[in-house]
């Protein structure tokens, strides 16, 4: 009897979950991969050996039981370096997404509600958007001392205009809605209108945009490290690993494709989460170009 009740009670939950998975395969697939990578990055000291220790005797060894992804030209474990590299990639991706959203939201809300500010700000951002993101980041990094913080700032800068444009577009459409008119007519002050009526409408597209910004930030960080304009070379990042081992491509392809595969997998997972969220939260939003 209790067994039957328990089964009946648990059924809706289980089928509900299964239903959700079936309806949102990209969202769930991406989220699961991402979750595994986040866990691996957090548990790096437990599941991976020393990413720095060089053992020249052991150099360029193919994947084996001791070194799952082989070793690089200094005999360092590629698996350990790849896992530790996830930490930098995820941190850069999340920080850039968070900072770009915060700054973009504030500027976008102001630009959407003040006509004077709007013209000036949108023009300035047009100029900023015309500079290719990687080149702007290269210029920024080459003028400062290389560090993870500078890299984050360099990637945030070109992402801001895209966020502002999105927020402004939402504000412009919500601004004309009757409930905002009513709020204005009843004497509600602008900051409160922004907070209570406009901000909630911007959140769904903003969350979707945040995932795309995160994916693009991870790609740009890797590209900057690869080009020698990113994270200092002594920190194991996927871009740094590929850059330092690239001459050994023919001899030891695992030194390139270990971190390369990790990078592709994480970016794909984040993009899938973005696509899944977009379909759930905001079907009208066109995919970011």
């Amino acid at each position: 009897m209790t067994a039957i009740t328990a089964r009946i009670a648990s059924q809706p939950v289980r089928s509900g979950l299964w239903h959700f998975v079936r309806r949102n395969p990209t969202l769930v697939g991406g989220a699961v991969v991402l979750l595994l990578v986040v866990l691996a990055a957090l548990a790096a000291p437990l599941i991976a050996g020393d990413p720095i220790a060089a053992r020249p005797v052991n150099r360029l060894k193919p994947p084996s039981a001791a070194n799952w992804l082989g070793t690089d030209q200094l005999g360092r474990d590629v698996w350990a370096r790849t896992i530790y590299g996830a930490r930098v990639s995820l941190m850069v991706g999340l920080s850039v997404a968070a900072i770009a959203m915060a700054i973009g939201l504030v500027i976008g809300l102001c630009a959407g509600f003040g006509r004077m500010v709007e013209t000036v700000v949108m023009r300035l951002l047009d100029g900023l958007m015309a500079i290719p993101a990687i080149l702007l980041a290269i210029a920024f990094v080459s003028l400062s001392k290389a560090s993870v913080g500078v890299v984050i700032a360099a990637i945030v800068l070109p992402e801001i205009p895209r966020v502002v444009r999105l927020v402004r577009a939402v504000v412009l459409s919500v601004r004309e809605q009757p409930f905002v008119e009513a709020a204005v007519a009843s004497g509600t002050r602008v900051p409160k209108i922004l907070r209570r009526h406009i901000l909630p409408a911007t959140l769904p597209p903003l969350i979707v945009q945040a995932t795309y910004v995160c994916a693009s930030a991870i790609l740009i960080e890797a590209a900057l490290s690869f080009l020698g304009a990113g994270t200092p070379p002594e920190i194991p990042t996927w871009g740094n690993m590929i850059a330092s081992s690239r001459v050994y491509l023919g001899l030891a392809p695992w030194t390139i494709f270990g971190p390369g595969l990790a990078l592709a997998l994480v970016v794909l997972a984040v993009n899938l989460v973005g696509d899944g969220l977009r379909d759930r939260l905001d079907p009208r939003l066109a995919r970011r170009m």
Partner: protein, 313 residues
């Protein structure tokens, strides 16, 4: 129409002006001393002082900007710190590999993407459609350098079909030129193909649902002309827009692709400048690439009337 072109030209000039302001401010508001940055890491204090003097760095900022802008407009992009050669000359020497790469990539990518997008929309819901959609999501997520090394490993190192890296000018024979560009173009173009194929499919699906497409089919227009002349042409505006926007992707990718494949182009010039902290080169190349991007998007805007005569400005 003329009024639109003039308005569009003015805004293009304005945007380029802003790009100039940003690049100028980036150097002058950065924490370091611009003279020290321009002089390079090994400069003596006397050299730095000389540069400070010759650039008039003690003058007000707007005056410095005006002077710099006039020089840039006259084609003077400054002098490389490392080689002491004018940046414009250096860019000129590196122009052809980059132009070749950009040209083959755009031709290859747009052809592939249009074919894939049209096919996917025509056979919507089929296996081909699903495959194209999956490839376009995956293709957009694959980093240029990972794809590049994968292509080198498979087609140049293992199969030995194509050269590993380097550039061969057209004067050494067409095949030598083309064979060095196939893999770089594929690596660089993949994300671009993904982007264009996706929008082509969406735009084509909209057009294929129109009444005039049913009419065309009913009066017996053959499939090929129906898809290309009736459907693709009418789906042109969003596709061309994305082709223009996607150029930003290509420009960033050129820098990476030229590094992976060791092509002596403008992208390599920038990357070599990073380690030497040769800021005038970085600045010059950014101006050039931003200009290319802005002009391509100007051309895209102007092409709308050709594609869709109903659009009037």
């Amino acid at each position: 129409m003329l009024a639109f072109i003039i308005r569009r030209l003015i805004s293009t000039v304005l945007v380029m002006g802003l790009v100039g302001v940003f690049i100028f401010l980036l150097l002058h508001l950065s924490p370091g001393d611009p003279a020290a940055i321009i002089a390079g890491d090994n400069a003596t204090p006397a050299q730095i002082a000389a540069i400070r003097n010759s650039l008039g760095l003690d003058d007000p900022l707007h005056l410095q900007f005006a002077r710099w802008a006039v020089r840039v407009l006259n084609g003077d992009l400054g002098i490389s710190i490392f080689s002491n050669v004018p940046v414009a000359t250096l860019i000129g020497q590196r122009l052809w590999p980059t132009v070749s790469l950009a040209f083959t990539t755009i031709v290859l990518a747009v052809t592939l993407a249009l074919a894939a997008g049209v096919l996917a929309a025509w056979k919507a819901g089929s296996l081909i459609d699903r495959l194209v959609m999956i490839l376009s999501v995956v293709g957009f997520s694959l980093p240029v350098f990972v794809v590049g090394y994968l292509l080198i490993y498979v087609f140049a190192i293992s199969l030995r079909w194509l050269p590993v890296q380097g550039y061969s000018p057209m004067s050494d024979g067409f095949w030598a030129w083309a064979s060095h560009l196939i893999l770089p173009s594929l690596a660089l173009g993949l994300a671009y193909v993904a982007l264009i194929a996706r929008i082509t499919r969406t735009a084509m699906l909209d057009v294929l649902a129109e009444d005039y497409m049913r009419t065309a089919r009913a009066k017996g227009v053959a499939t090929g002309p129906m898809l290309l002349k009736h459907a693709l042409k009418n789906a042109g505006v969003p596709i061309v827009t994305v082709i223009g926007i996607g150029v930003a992707l290509l420009i960033g990718g050129v820098v990476i692709t030229e590094t992976v494949f060791n092509l002596p182009g403008i992208g390599r010039l920038v990357v070599d400048a990073i380690s030497k902290r040769d800021y005038p080169i970085i600045q010059g190349v950014i101006l050039l690439f931003s200009g290319v991007y802005v002009i391509i998007n100007l051309m895209v805007d102007l092409s709308y009337t050709l594609l869709d005569p109903r659009i009037r400005y």
